[in-house]
Symmetry: C2
Subunit: 258 residues, 2 copies
């Protein structure tokens, strides 16, 4: 089970590389962006004294940003169809020993499926986006979300995204690219989410799994952003995907409203 | 245990109200924003035929957007210090019976702690933001994140946010407001996250819990957004908080880069 405990971490290797790439620039930046004089609140904190602030372990951890904890012991505490729970005894790179209950999951794929229609200009910045509604028992309500699903064990994420979009909406897409990989709740949930951008939709027949009852529709990006700002979109992957995409296509925010 | 199974859903009542508020406008909007002619891909799909598209259950579910599933049976399948797992037998509002393994958690608070410094103009749009780094075993790496923590049972979310910010960074803040409430992984995780905006930082002594080793620093919003666009911020709550806040303060996206 130790080996299967490691599998999700293997998946996490991709973002780990990204961390490595950006650890140095981060440190440099904080050196240059250090004018504590312009930040009175910070003056009195440790935060501005060194680029890596605050606690005693900082230098140690800063030197080991991409290192892994040592896994001393790992027991399966729960095993279900969707996820497992491991009770792991670890030693963190900083040297700290701890027990952690961690939920292991194959990871999820999320699809930001957009279509620019025939339009030019405005439509390039305000494409149609596929959203779905389904009942979420965990949230106790219906939620509007981007199409998404769980990866099969060892499945290629892009393949999983194409499979899920077809199953739930019938759509295929002309062009696929990865928008982001992230952890929705990294304190205890090992699930990583890949959000893919699927551009140029090709309709087809949906064939949702037996336990899915999915209602989907197309909305303008501008309408989705309006609903996000109203607080009526409360699914994390949908917030991340829509807000990242809005920046990527250069949608300007509306007038300040806070 | 049924009663404690319900507690997290009680917490979910707030966003449920929001859903109610916005369910009607959504339906109207999709009527008006229905020009399938400008959306060739959609023409052939069910999505454009009715505002609520696709599957047979749609009309039923659309009429019951804020209704709850009936809980027929609920067993605790795992009980840990941070979360519990319930194996629930439910009947969804659409009439569908299902078993769901759901993780129940008190909910989390996330703090977007910003300081505008003495500056005007640019600094209003590019304030300092507190970020932390800690080792996340679930992700197998160190992550930079907004300060966050778990709510105590029945704790007021604002109180929890003020407590966590003080524990982890020592900061208090002059002005607090709620940015968003959302579900990071609503398919099986009952955890809801409240992101609070804390403006005007007042330094103090941090006193992290025994099992926390936290490195924090202040970065400019512009630097945080740059790191998000590079893919080096991979914590969901940090993506949601920073991207929502950037829109709220009117930060324009950089040139299109995809």
């Amino acid at each position: 089970m130790t080996s299967s405990a490691k599998k999700p971490q293997a998946r996490a290797a991709k973002p780990a590389k990204v961390m490595k790439k950006t650890t140095k620039p981060t440190a440099e930046k904080s050196e240059t962006s250090k004018p504590a004089a312009r930040q009175p609140a910070a003056k009195k904190t440790a935060a501005q004294k060194t680029p890596s602030a605050g606690k005693t372990v900082v230098k140690k951890t800063a030197a080991k940003a991409t290192e892994r904890a040592k896994l001393i012991e790992s027991k399966i505490a729960f095993d279900g169809p969707l996820f497992r729970i491991y009770r792991d005894h670890i030693v963190e790179p900083g040297g700290k020993a701890a027990w952690r209950d961690v939920i292991r999951h194959n990871g999820s794929v999320v699809i930001l499926a957009v279509d620019y229609g025939k339009g030019k200009g405005k439509d390039r910045k305000d494409p149609w986006i596929v959203i779905e509604r389904q009942y979420r028992h965990a949230a106790g309500q219906y939620l509007w979300e981007l199409p998404a699903g769980k990866l099969d064990a060892g499945e290629d994420p892009l393949h999983g995204a194409q499979r899920e979009l077809a199953e739930e909406t019938g759509y295929a897409a002309h062009h696929w690219s990865r928008l982001v990989y992230y952890y929705p709740s990294p304190g205890f949930l090992g699930e990583g989410m890949y959000i893919f951008l699927a551009e140029g939709l090709i309709p087809g027949d949906a064939h949702p799994e037996d336990d899915e009852q999915i209602d989907f529709r197309l909305v303008r990006l501008s309408e989705l952003l309006e609903r996000i700002e109203k607080g009526s979109i409360i699914d994390g992957k949908t917030l991340v995907g829509a807000l990242l995409f809005a920046r990527a296509v250069g949608v300007k925010p509306r007038k300040k409203h806070h």
